[in-house]
């Protein structure tokens, strides 16, 4: 499986989509390589589990390939793919059995920035921060799907309100309302340590 780069010239996404639509798997492979990390982290933010994020993001690409005829080559590929990722993740989270299993088996999915870790050399401080991270993860897990999604896109993917609104196809006011609701819930859950 070779790269779709031709002598240093990056192939446009539009061209890759058109080639993928005609059945070119290598072109689709290049689309996968370009968007795999973003799709994985989107799923990780929604599910909070490495294994599930990997599985669901890969499944999203499989479904994207099967539905490739419906992609509009004139529009960016990722927002279209994201709709599949979030749908798969929401369906997964709504399944009570998998949710129970996920909660039992889930490991940490957040990490402290390297600069913060380096600054906290005191072992008791490190333990304290690890507990705070674990409580933050648990509090995020208790949010509704919609609140969690907006929070993750803002806090951990660093998108602007406008970008979140476009991605989710909702008004900016709704983005801010969901974000407020999510943050208020988190602040309440972590009240004693904030």
């Amino acid at each position: 499986m070779e790269s779709c780069l031709v002598e240093g010239h990056e192939v446009s996404e539009r061209s890759l989509v058109l080639r993928a639509q005609s059945g070119d798997r290598e072109a689709f492979g290049e689309l996968v390589r370009r968007h795999m990390q973003r799709a994985y982290y989107a799923a990780l933010g929604l599910t909070g589990s490495h294994d599930d994020a990997l599985d669901l993001s890969q499944e999203a690409f499989v479904r994207a390939f099967r539905a490739r005829a419906t992609i509009d080559p004139e529009l960016p590929f990722y927002p279209w793919l994201y709709q599949i990722v979030r749908r798969l993740c929401f369906n997964f989270l709504r399944d009570r059995k998998t949710r129970r299993r996920r909660l039992e088996a889930a490991g940490p999915w957040l990490a402290e920035e390297i600069r913060v870790r380096a600054a906290a050399s005191d072992p008791s401080r490190i333990t304290e921060r690890a507990e705070l991270r674990a409580r933050l993860e648990a509090a995020i897990d208790r949010l509704s799907e919609r609140e969690r999604e907006v929070l993750v896109l803002k806090e951990f993917e660093g998108l602007l309100y406008r970008e979140i609104a476009e991605l989710l196809e909702i008004p900016i006011g709704t983005v801010m309302s969901r974000l407020y609701s999510a943050r208020r819930s988190l602040a309440k859950s972590l009240e004693d340590v904030l």
């Binding site: 990780l44 490495h50 890969q58 599949i84």
Partner: protein
């Protein structure tokens, strides 16, 4: 820019925008005035700022680099398996249908079997084939042509 208007909703939107650095100068002044006049609002703002400081130090835990090296291969394998399942299903459908047809032919040719038993076996076999074809048709064709099946409504 946040739409003009009053009420709690606007205050919440102003707080979010200020927290995320998406507020202009005049809106910032407006929010600061509101907070100065309302201690409860100021307290809530303090909690949100502290929360932002915590979330600001967190990021996604990075998976091992090796997963990116085999990521596309895994997706490709899943695509191949999908084709494998379709071929297996089609092949099984043909074989089962053929086997059922031959079995029915033999049953009909058996002069010693009562007619109602022949009829019952025939009905069972035809029913199974109809159900099998119906389920496969739904799985393979109808879902494949549903344009918005992966879009959240």
């Amino acid at each position: 820019m946040i739409e003009a208007g009053g009420g709690e909703e606007r205050i919440r939107q102003l707080m979010m925008s200020l927290l995320d650095g998406e507020l202009n100068a005049s809106e910032r002044e407006e929010l600061e005035r509101l907070m100065a006049a309302d201690p409860a609002l100021e307290k809530e703002w303090g909690a949100l700022v502290r929360l932002k400081e915590v979330t600001g130090t967190m990021s996604f835990r990075k998976p091992p680099d090796q997963i990116w090296e085999v990521y596309w291969t895994s997706v490709y394998s899943r695509l191949e398996r999908g084709i494998g399942w379709i071929l297996l299903s089609l092949g099984a459908m043909v074989l089962i249908s053929y086997g059922a047809w031959k079995g029915v032919q033999e049953l009909v040719a058996d002069a010693g079997m009562p007619w109602f038993l022949k009829g019952a076996i025939l009905a069972t076999v035809v029913g199974l084939v109809v159900l099998l074809v119906s389920v496969l048709r739904e799985k393979l064709f109808r879902r494949g042509r549903e344009r918005y099946k992966d879009v959240d409504r």
